[in-house]
Subunit: 217 residues, 2 copies
């Protein structure tokens, strides 16, 4: 674990487990990427939601070469990618102890651009498979022009940390006689019924779409 | 709208509608807050998930005075709070056009600390009501010590922008004859059955817990 992401507060919420970090990155559909935009006194943080994928010990990001955030990140500046999954609202007997059960990973690092054509093709497949497992087998391969027209960045997972809050509310002893209902409202990624595009001729919903799901229920 | 959050790309996805911005902030349970940590060559972005609330044209953040991010933000530095709600996975006929339907708001600003006791009490109530509407009426008021021990920051919503992607996949004309299923997998905030704390004597789940929900279905 890197120095900068070592948890300074509530270290009991820290998880130093590569498998857990990988699983969280894989479960989350998207992440939030922060960079420092502007120079000198105009320097300010910008945080943008982005789809991501994972390749071993690297986080992959992609988008249009016109994206300001990606262009900035390509220059080898520090970025922070944070992945959060909410698991429950924590309802305590006092306002102070209300909280959220969640899992989050914070990745700090400098991106390198993926330039090699074959590596880019593999990365692009990973984005599709990350979002919708089983999907790459159903779509045509990317054209050379499409590969060229997509910017792919790769960030090492060297300097990252995971934080988890789980379990019931922790109340003050003096509040335990309260008749206020306390406990958890579980949260998860809800999935609706697939909506076929009007131009889709075949109305049968394939399995990788019909059974798409993420995480716990 | 502030200059820095004016959308430079895909301005068709920009929404300049205060009501829509407020509604999105109110619907989202939490946000991602980015600051620039460190100085000089060590300056780097840090992005952390945080519960939030809204008070008119201001975004409220809170936490322990020991929080590094909040302490940094209290010093009047620029922060970026980004709120994202995923609405659907967009499955196109080519990998390139896969996307996500989502709504997001990016807020750039400098926080001011809420110091006045009464204003802090009101802000703390808003955090509870934001997470669980109807909850403040069921819990005891915060003690003076609790109010003192919580850091509350307020960020103006002056410099913010909203971005939305909605609708079906947009495919290349040449791919429209493909027999690949294309369309949307709708996403929403899933809610499970409330789990009472073991020490909760009254097993009846009150309405504000039993019927908690967020956004579309």
């Amino acid at each position: 674990m890197g120095d900068r992401t070592t948890l300074r507060r509530k270290p009991d919420r820290a998880i130093d487990d590569r498998q857990a970090i990988h699983a969280l990155i894989d479960e989350a559909v998207y992440c939030h990427v922060g960079i420092v935009a502007g120079d000198g006194t105009d320097a300010h943080p910008v945080v943008i939601p982005m789809l991501h994928a994972r390749q071993g010990e690297r986080l992959l990001l992609h988008g249009s070469p016109a994206s300001r955030l990606l262009r900035t990140a390509r220059d080898g500046v520090d970025l922070c990618a944070t992945i959060t999954l909410p698991d429950a609202l924590v309802l305590a007997r006092s306002g102070l102890h209300h909280s959220m059960n969640y899992r989050s990973v914070v990745v700090l690092g400098r991106a390198t651009e993926v330039i090699d054509h074959d590596e880019k093709v593999e990365a692009l497949d990973r984005f599709v498979e990350h979002a919708v497992p089983g999907r790459t087998a159903r779509i045509r391969p990317a054209t050379t022009q499409e590969v060229k027209g997509t910017l792919v960045l790769s960030v090492p997972l060297d300097d990252c940390s995971m934080k988890v809050r789980s379990g019931p509310p922790i109340d003050d002893e003096a509040d335990m006689d309260s008749d206020t209902w306390a406990g958890l409202i579980p949260l998860h990624q809800g999935v609706g019924t697939p909506i076929p595009d009007e131009a889709t001729g075949d109305a049968t919903v394939p399995g990788h779409v019909a059974f798409w799901s993420r995480g716990r229920r």
